[in-house]
């Protein structure tokens, strides 16, 4: 297996996540796209680990940290979404344009 096949796959998924982040209107779907990007990062990390084969499995440990932090971030993110929904009765990001001129 070639290293690049995993890296390019990761790049493709990251790009899809970026597209989703910029295009989707529902906040939850934006968070979903962020999760896609983090998954792509994980693929890269584990692929690099298989390439370098460090004695302490550094890439995999890093990937585990990324997963953990992503879980924490989703928790907070959805709590924020909940508050937004309570206040504005809408989960549409276009309705959240308060911080403007």
């Amino acid at each position: 297996m070639v290293l690049n096949q995993f890296l390019i796959l990761g790049a493709a998924i990251f790009a899809m996540g970026v597209y989703g982040l910029l295009v989707r209107r529902n906040i939850v779907l934006i968070l979903l796209s962020v999760e896609l990007m983090l998954t792509a990062v994980n693929i890269n990390l584990v692929a690099f680990e298989s390439y370098l084969v460090t004695p302490e499995a550094i890439g995999q440990v890093f990937a585990i940290f990324v997963i953990t932090v992503a879980a924490a971030e989703v928790g907070i993110g959805l709590a924020i979404v909940l508050m937004i929904f309570r206040n504005r009765k809408s989960a549409n990001v276009d309705d959240l344009s308060l911080m403007r001129w």
Binding site: V23, R100, W101
Partner: protein, 682 residues
């Protein structure tokens, strides 16, 4: 990689017992047996993707998958019969360290090949039947998808080479069962039945998982071949946990195989469509517990013998106590459900008494005739549009094929010669007698009487008398009656497979087929049938039929009048199902109130106090920063600067549209430009 254990198959036969081991590898079919495990899942995905557009809503795909599977299963069955198959294939999916690994794959030995054949054979016929039964119903594509999922999970379970894969399959069939029982979820009662089934099973699964952990950690592996060998050789680490682990695993089996007191979910599970009841809750899923006990038979035989006492007691209570419940049921499917639980009690009792072949032979024959009975019931229900026997009567005239196949199934269940049930039940009685369990033997014979009685009641109430409903029920279409006939044939003929002292030439017989595993189980297999015991059993059954005839054969104004026989204290108790359901609900309700109050208290005073404290201190800090630092110190400087920035700002601030995604787009674009600059240009 072929597990090394399968080269060391041991013949564990005692004096006068008959056991052989042939470690063939099953040729082409053995090597590619994994296809049987994958096809149903492929069918699941295909049905979800394309089912809606197909003429039979994906049923064709489900039937095709099982038909292909049946080719493999039949070939393996034949190979096992003639030359013996004993092989496996595993691949590792997780390495835990210190030599413990988690593997998936399949094992092919006498027991698993028989189960694979059974699941595929009965499954295929039920699927074909379901094509007709579910035609025109709602969500038929999801029905066949969930049904295929079930078939796949069940195959994974029976072909499992170790406890981990067995648990995966176990949970899979539980999930599919939940989907299918609650198939008509528009009706709340069906949803509740599905929940009940799932939760009772989950409760028992605690035992299963704990038992699996105990045995696995003690021995260092979950592989069945290793456990069998360790049990046979008296491995000390395993011996230390064998009793507790064996008991826990038995509790797990109790849940899935509806032994008392975990039987409460099975009658409610009849809320699902009849093909589901026929396949899952009669022939395959409920036999998973029996299968587990059979798989670990060496463990119970050589190490955890004290658990067998518990097993026999529970098996006997189930066999007789739950069998009685069928006498008062009005819903024809409930009669069959209670009957199934009772027969599962027979199987468990047989296994606990040391009758490896007896219990499994009964599982085999029971699958055929119980599925047949359920499908016949479904045929009648389809024609009459009601489950209750009080709406039936005289169906014999309108649905002859259904009637005759039902008769064959009932006679097989009652244990009348020469139908299959006679041979398997007699084998169980012979085992009980040979191992010296006299009390249990008499209870089992009494159970045969009860079985014949309630089947006679069901038959006479449904098929005899006159039909009092409106219109005329008509026979089911061929797509439904052909599987009935095809299932009736094994109900008659399966007995041949295991007549004591008879071997089918090149094909040997059922005992030899089953015995082919790592620790080959010898079994008491008499050289000739014990006619005394057989006649006693048949007399009990005939008495039951006779009593049923006397009480229920006559005609009357209404069906309810025909069903008017009553024993004062017993029948009301039976109607309330011994109050066990109420007991279970009461226990749950007892805990729910205090538990909810405790959770609320914890939430209010423990969890909230931390954010409260943090919020309070944050507030104080904020007050300081605002009052002193900000108002007095910082503002003075900025007031002067702000006038200048105001003018510049009003031009630039048009960029701030407030739309987060535009900010993000700008961010990405900027990052992209910077990266390209740094990587490629500079």
């Amino acid at each position: 990689m072929v597990n090394a254990f399968y080269n060391l198959a041991i013949v564990a036969a005692e004096e006068g017992e008959h056991a052989e081991v042939h470690a063939g590898d099953g040729g082409f079919f053995g090597d590619t047996a994994g296809i049987m495990l994958i096809l149903p899942f492929v069918a699941f995905l295909l049905i979800l993707a394309f089912g809606k557009r197909m003429k039979n809503k994906g049923g064709e795909i489900a039937v095709a998958a099982l038909a292909i599977n049946l080719v493999w299963a039949s070939a393996l069955l034949y190979l096992n019969a003639t030359e013996g198959v004993l092989t496996d294939f595993t691949f590792e999916i997780a390495n835990i360290g210190s030599g413990m690994v988690v593997e998936l794959g399949w094992v092919l030995d006498g027991l698993s090949i028989l189960m694979l054949f059974l699941v595929n054979f009965v499954g295929l016929l039920v699927f074909i039947y379901a094509l007709g039964y579910m035609h025109g119903d709602r969500r038929v594509d999801w029905f066949f998808a969930a049904f295929s999922l079930f078939a796949g999970a069940m195959l994974i379970l029976v072909a499992a080479p170790n406890l981990v894969q067995l648990i995966i399959g176990w949970e899979g069939v539980g999930l599919a069962s939940y989907f299918l029982i609650g198939f008509y979820w528009e009706d709340l009662a069906n949803v509740k039945a599905g929940n009940k089934a799932f939760m009772v099973n989950k409760l028992a699964d605690v035992g299963l998982i704990l038992g699996a952990i105990l045995v696995g950690v003690a021995l260092g592996t979950w592989d069945f071949g290793a456990i069998d060998l360790a049990a046979f050789e008296g491995n000390t680490e395993l011996a230390a946990v064998a009793s507790v682990g064996g008991l826990l695993l038995f509790i797990g089996a109790m849940g899935k195989s509806a032994q008392f007191p975990f039987h409460i979910w099975l009658p409610d599970a009849m809320a699902g469509p009849t093909p589901v009841s026929a396949l899952m809750h009669a022939a395959t899923m409920v036999t998973a517990g029996i299968y587990l006990m059979a798989r670990l038979f060496p463990l119970y035989e050589y190490m955890a013998s004290d658990v067998r006492t518990t097993m026999i007691v529970i098996g006997t209570i189930t066999l007789f106590g739950v069998g009685l419940l069928a006498i008062v049921a009005d819903d024809i499917k409930k009669v069959l459900a209670y009957s199934t639980v009772s027969q599962l009690g027979y199987m468990m009792t047989a296994l606990a008494a040391g009758g490896y072949t007896a219990g499994l032979f009964h599982l085999f024959t029971h699958a055929a005739f119980k599925a047949l009975l359920f499908l016949c019931a479904g045929s009648v229900i389809h024609a009459v549009h009601s489950n209750n026997m009080s709406d039936m009567g005289g169906i014999r005239k309108y649905m002859p094929t259904t009637f005759w196949t039902w008769m064959i199934g009932s006679l097989a269940l009652a244990g009348i010669i020469p139908f299959a049930g006679f041979w398997s039940k007699d084998e169980i009685l012979a085992t009980l007698s040979h191992e010296g369990y006299t009390t249990v033997l008499w209870i089992a014979i009494a159970g045969a009487f009860v079985t014949a009685f309630y089947m006679a009641r069901a038959t006479f109430l449904t098929f005899f008398g006159t039909y009092k409903g409106h219109g005329e029920p008509h026979e089911s279409p061929r797509i439904m009656t052909v599987p009935l006939v095809l299932l009736a044939i094994p109900s008659v003929l399966f007995g041949i497979l295991n007549i004591p002292g008879v071997s089918l030439g090149n094909l040997n017989n059922f005992t030899v087929w089953l015995g082919n595993r790592v620790v080959a189980m010898g079994d008491h297999h008499a050289e000739a049938i014990n006619w005394g015991l057989a006649i006693i059993g048949m007399v009990a059954a005939l008495l039951g039929i006779l009593l049923g005839y006397v009480l229920y054969f006559r005609d009357a104004e209404t069906q309810l009048e025909r069903d008017s026989f009553e024993i004062p204290v017993l029948f009301p108790l039976l109607r309330k199902k011994y109050y066990i359901d109420d007991l279970a609900l009461g226990i749950v309700a007892l805990f729910m109130g205090p538990l909810a109050k405790f959770a609320n208290w914890t939430n209010t005073f423990v969890f909230d106090s931390v954010p409260n404290a943090i919020g309070g201190s944050a507030k104080a800090l904020g007050g300081f920063v605002y009052g002193i630092l900000d108002q007095k110190g910082v503002d003075g400087v900025f007031n002067g600067v702000s006038a200048a920035t105001d003018g510049a700002g009003s031009a630039v601030r048009k960029w701030q549209t407030g739309r987060v995604q535009q900010y993000a787009a700008a961010f990405v674009a900027g990052a992209l430009i910077l990266v390209v600059l740094f990587v490629f240009v500079i």
